[in-house]
């Protein structure tokens, strides 16, 4: 009941912030424009592969995941920090709610918002395909499930991973600057893994287990596929794909566990008076 109330308030609170609608719009418009123009030209597939083949949709979705990285920091990082920023923590923490209820409520509330925002990617892409500039001969029949599949495989686990990390950073440090730093570090880390480690790796099988956007991993899995296969088949979810996703979900769960363990619902202790006067 208490968690439900915290989630409910969180959603109500966030729904009053115009920034969140702008985030949704940005993601939607980006997805729409790229899907409308088609991104096949920048990928390394044969000309016979259709613009809306499952693998191309995967690549498009992976690419659109990038701006989500920054949006997640803004939404999830502030879930706890705003109580300290607005000096509300003393009013909140003297209510009969446990640390677990507080953290769970805030995380779930903000994560629901994140999932909603990230849904702009499949929605925008689908709208883009429907209004595509490409001739019909270059397109397969419209299959919404392909977009949803990519969303579930790439966007959702990635959003969970990023949400958990930013939430942890904000809750444990209670400082906004930590969130920004964390965002930059994560961005660098992901691109090093992507471009440095995976692309130069001698053991590609092993390296792609850590492929955050899963583009290289899916390319590896479909290396010997014909254009016809790429057009008609989905990459089966097994082995390396499952391990890859479990790694990121696992790290996210660890970040949340660490948050519960380290977070203190008390004030910092020393007189607040001195800084105020």
């Amino acid at each position: 009941m208490k968690i439900y109330e915290i989630v409910r308030f969180e959603l109500q609170y966030i729904s009053k912030r115009p920034a969140n609608y702008i985030y949704f719009l940005i993601l939607f418009v980006m997805a729409f424009l790229f899907a409308k123009q088609g991104i096949k030209g920048v990928t390394e597939v044969s000309v016979q592969v259709k613009e809306n083949a499952p693998l191309i949709i995967h690549e498009l979705t992976a690419f659109l995941n990038l701006p989500l990285l920054l949006i997640t920091s803004a939404v999830m990082g502030m879930a706890v920090i705003r109580d300290f920023d607005y000096k509300m923590e003393q009013l909140v923490f003297t209510n009969p709610i446990s640390k677990g209820q507080y953290l769970a409520g805030r995380f779930i509330g903000s994560f629901i918002v994140m999932v909603t925002l990230s849904f702009a990617i499949p929605l925008g892409s689908m709208a883009g395909e429907l209004l595509s500039t490409k001739p019909a001969s270059e397109l397969l029949p419209f299959t919404p499930w392909n977009y949803l599949n990519s969303f579930l495989l790439i966007v959702l686990p990635n959003t969970f991973f990023l949400s958990a990390l930013y939430f942890a950073g904000g809750a444990i440090s209670k400082k906004a600057v930590v969130i920004y730093t964390q965002g930059i570090v994560l961005l660098i880390f992901i691109s090093i893994v992507d471009e440095g480690v995976i692309e130069t790796s001698k053991n590609l099988e092993l390296a792609t287990l850590f492929d955050f956007y899963m583009v290289q991993l899916l390319n590896l899995k479909t290396k010997y596929w014909s254009a016809a296969e790429i057009n008609t088949q989905m990459v089966p979810i097994s082995g390396a794909i499952i391990i890859n996703r479990l790694i990121y979900i696992g790290v996210g769960v660890m970040a949340l566990t660490l948050t519960f363990w380290r977070f203190k619902n008390t004030t910092k202790g020393h007189s607040t008076k001195k800084s105020a006067k």
Binding site: K16, Y86, K87, Q90, L91, T94, N95, P96, T266, S271
Partner: protein, 288 residues
């Protein structure tokens, strides 16, 4: 309902001894906690409302162990911190409703009634839909008291509540506090002696983390009768008097200086006995 604090101590990591063996017995009614800035008032309040851990000692509210049963205690306390903020883009009604739900008022109708009553009590009904970011200092303080009164708490703690309020708002604030139920313990922390004199039936003076004296304000004043003296002197004499007597205050008076001292016996020629006030009780302990 009784609040009992025994031997409560707290030392901050930087070595500051915020609380040094505090003992207090507080029963229902208004209790004034007086002390200069940095005396340990806020530390004591924060410890009582579960926001800070004590190093040693015990504190109980009725049957509740205040230092251990935090969740149980939080159901029965209301706290107005000295310094706090509010989410700017949220209305008073919405935030109060949220706090009421967190306090455990689960029934929607009952919650609505509670929120409306509280808004009425602090005279914010008219502004209930307005965003808190647009509230003035006085309105914000009134919102603060409203949230502290959710769910009929047994212990209400208000830390420097009238700082920044105009006299009219201050009066209204005092009225709200003094109208609280007869079973409620209200602790008013302040450095304004006047507030305690007017409102409180019990009080304590805290300085450097220790309780210097406690009791009924009128009784404490009465106990000082015959001990307060005044004399008009030249400014140069002040240093000398400070050495031989405990000076409570000195102020300009008709081009000269009026000095006020504490002395159990007649301090000598020129000194006139005067009626003591609560300020004298306060300064005689704090400046000792």
């Amino acid at each position: 309902m009784k609040l009992t604090i025994e031997n409560l101590s707290k030392t901050y990591p930087n070595g500051t001894k915020a609380l040094n063996g505090v003992n207090l017995n507080i029963s229902a009614g208004m209790f004034g906690l007086l002390g200069p800035n940095g005396a340990g008032k806020s530390s004591l309040m924060r410890t009582m409302v579960t926001l800070q851990e004590a190093d040693s000692g015990t504190a109980t509210l009725g049957e509740i162990n205040m230092l251990k049963d935090k969740d149980e205690l939080r159901k029965h306390i209301g706290y107005l911190p000295q310094e706090f903020g509010l989410y700017p883009k949220v209305s008073a009604e919405m935030l109060l409703n949220h706090f009421a739900a967190l306090k455990g008022i689960h029934d929607k109708q009952e919650r609505k009634r509670t929120v409306n009553e509280l808004l009425e009590k602090v005279n914010l009904t008219e502004h209930r839909k307005k965003n808190l970011g647009g509230y003035s200092g006085g309105m914000k303080q009134r919102f603060g008291i409203a949230q502290a009164l959710i769910g009929d708490p047994r212990l209400v703690i208000v830390d420097e509540p009238t700082a920044g309020l105009d006299p009219q708002e201050r009066n209204r604030f005092h009225n709200i506090l003094s109208k609280l139920g007869r079973e409620t313990i209200v602790i008013l922390s302040t450095h304004i002696v006047e507030d305690v004199k007017d409102l409180c039936t019990q009080m304590a003076i805290l300085n450097k983390g220790s309780i210097l004296t406690h009791g009924n304000p009128k009784q404490l004043v009465k106990d000082m009768e015959g001990q307060i003296w005044e004399k008009v002197i030249d400014q140069e004499e002040l240093g000398q008097i400070r050495q031989s007597h405990q000076v409570i205050s000195d102020r300009f008076y008709d081009g000269q200086t009026m000095v006020r001292i504490v002395s159990t016996s007649n301090p000598g020629v020129g000194f006139q006995p005067v009626a003591p006030g609560l300020e004298d009780v306060y300064f005689s302990h704090v400046n000792r």
